[in-house]
Amino acid sequence: MDTPIAAPSLPVRVAVLRSPLAQAAALTALTLGVLVTLLLATGHDPGVALRALARGAFGSWYAFTSATLVRAVPLALTGLAVALAFRAGLLNIGAEGQLLAGAAATAAVLGAFTSVSAVIALPVALLVGMICGALWAGMAALLRQRFGVLEVISTIMLNYVALYLVGWLVRGPLQEPSRIYPQSEGLARAFQLPTLFTGTRLHVGLVLAVGLSTLAWWWLRSTAGGFRLRTVGMNPSAAFTIGRVNVSRVSVWAFLVSGALAGLAGAVELTGVTYALYESISPGYGYTAIAVALLARLNPLGVLGTAVLFGALQAGGNAMQRDAGVPIALVHVVEAIIILLVIAGDRLPATRAERSA
């Protein structure tokens, strides 16, 4: 029996803010506060920048659906992937690589299926995307269970490998026929995910994200399998000693499911937004997903909310860069600072209690 690796302590409880609405308000306020501070520090006019941000994220029905929500979809799916893994005590930092693996596999399947009906081809392609995402994560799971390799490191290494793999694919086997651009051939209309509202770019991936988040929330809360996963995340040693839980098996499955969700994010991004595979298909969704998941306190339903928040931040960040000359990197700084503030907010009271003891 291998020794279970201790679960990380994660911010799962909120002391003061009970209602979801109060939490959402507090988060938004926090984000805005950090944003304004950074804008001032880098010598930008917060008024101008924030107006650009608001316009880009919420300024119109089109902006909200086609910029904010379109970005929220991959963030929600990868955020869910990270949340489930963290809940099981697995620090999967590899959603980015799993997303790329899923997107690449989907592109490959659809590229080969040109003569197959879309009704079959599209679901199969999405499924293969999920499977490849799961397999990409599965490598890290295998390394962890068999060899005790820290999954944080292995998943990050796999992110780089996936990136170079996609780089090779789009210049090799999957390159578009003219062989000029490093990208795959654009998807035929029939192979694109249908949009939800005409005149917008918002696709049915949103329905998938909402459905899967709800399902994950219910599963964690109400089923034996979900409870098992939580026991492994909370205390693998007690889960094994008292509950006789097969910790390795639960961990491996959690890793696979997490990878499948991230892979689905890639498949959905490819078929719903980019319609072609290229190296920069993800602007770091898999990394932002960590902030999305942590900020949602690893709650699958909360992930939906934080995904919209970060989707708005990224959509608005692009508008800020365009209209106010604010580097988009600022948005990433905001995300990281929020993670740190959440950690500090969780640890400060505990530390104070330990100090007085």
Binding site: P8, G43, L91, F147, I153, M157, A291, V333, L348, T351
Partner: protein
């Protein structure tokens, strides 16, 4: 005559230098019981600080200013990490990840703010190779080992010194005791928190110098995200080196070699092999090495433990 193999070996040592620096720093940190996943962040911040300082000061002094600024930046970044992990006892892995993300975003932001979106006009002084007369003429290893920048030579002194320091000084004993059993250290009159904070900061300084090396001894310029996972590779190097300075140096050389293979194959004319394969090689190697090493038993017993004392 200079052969492709000479070039390969020289490139291996050159690429290994920043890896070894970062990994030696991480080795100190981990011996104290803390795993700093934010190492990547310290490297990229060191690289940017070195760029700015060397560019501002200019001239021969600019290089010194660059390395100093790199070390300082590394210390500042890890000070944040130390605050969270040593004093707030927050989870080391999550904090380290957040700090890496923060640093990558922050350096991008500062770089754009300082140099504009184009980033052109970067002319910074770099540190040249200093061939050692005689030794650099040795066959095979001569150029690889003795026609390198001064920072590489510094490693030749740092590695044996650290190896000695770990086992033959009371400070080294205190560091190892803290990493193995903070309770025992405390009972022996050592302040584990202070030891851990210093170990983290020392690791940050090394990582900052590693970042400075990337700029001042290799690329001669700053590129966003140029650390490219070297912090994580350095952590793998520490595992492979079994937490000893000599082992770490050897492991770093192995990784340097893997990265340098592309030059060898290019000069041998193997053009049909996709270059992405070589770019991915160090990362794949890291995975294989970690699986092979499977050496958790050699790790400091209290590594990554949040609770400082049980009693």
């Amino acid at each position: 005559m200079i052969t492709p193999v000479d070039d390969f070996l020289a490139a291996a040592v050159r690429t290994a230098t920043p890896l070894a620096l970062a990994a030696l720093g991480e080795c100190i940190t981990e011996r104290g019981g803390v795993i700093n996943i934010g190492l990547e962040g310290a490297i990229i911040c060191g690289a940017l600080a070195a760029t700015i300082a060397a560019g501002t000061v200019g001239g021969p002094l600019g290089v010194t200013a660059g390395f100093t600024a790199g070390a300082l930046a590394g210390v500042v970044v890890t000070l944040l990490f130390a605050l969270f992990t040593v004093y707030l006892r927050a989870d080391q892995i999550i904090t380290g990840t957040a700090i890496t993300l923060l640093s990558l975003g922050f350096t991008g932001l500062v770089y754009k703010t300082v140099y504009g979106t184009t980033g052109v006009g970067l002319t910074i002084p770099t540190i040249g190779d200093v061939p050692i007369p005689g030794l650099s003429q040795l066959p095979l290893v001569g150029r690889a080992l003795f026609a390198q920048p001064v920072i590489t030579y510094a490693l030749y002194a740092i590695v044996p010194f650290l190896a000695w320091w770990f086992v033959r000084t009371h400070a080294g004993l205190a560091l190892r005791a803290t990493g193995e059993s903070p309770d025992a250290a405390l009972a022996a009159g050592i302040q584990p928190r202070t030891v851990q904070a210093l170990a983290v900061l020392a690791g940050g300084a090394f990582a900052g110098v590693a970042g400075a090396t990337l700029v001042l001894a290799q690329s001669g310029t700053f590129v966003e995200g140029m650390s490219a996972g070297k912090g994580f590779i350095a952590i793998a190097i520490v595992v492979l080196g079994r937490w000893t300075p000599l082992g770490v140096a050897g492991a770093a050389l192995l990784f340097g070699g893997a990265s340098a293979l592309q030059y060898l194959f290019q000069s041998l004319g193997w053009r049909e092999v996709p270059y992405q394969l070589f770019l991915a090689l160090p990362y794949v190697l890291t995975l294989l090495v970690l699986a092979r090493a499977s050496a958790r038993s050699q790790a400091p017993a209290a590594l990554a433990r949040r609770q400082l004392t049980v009693g």
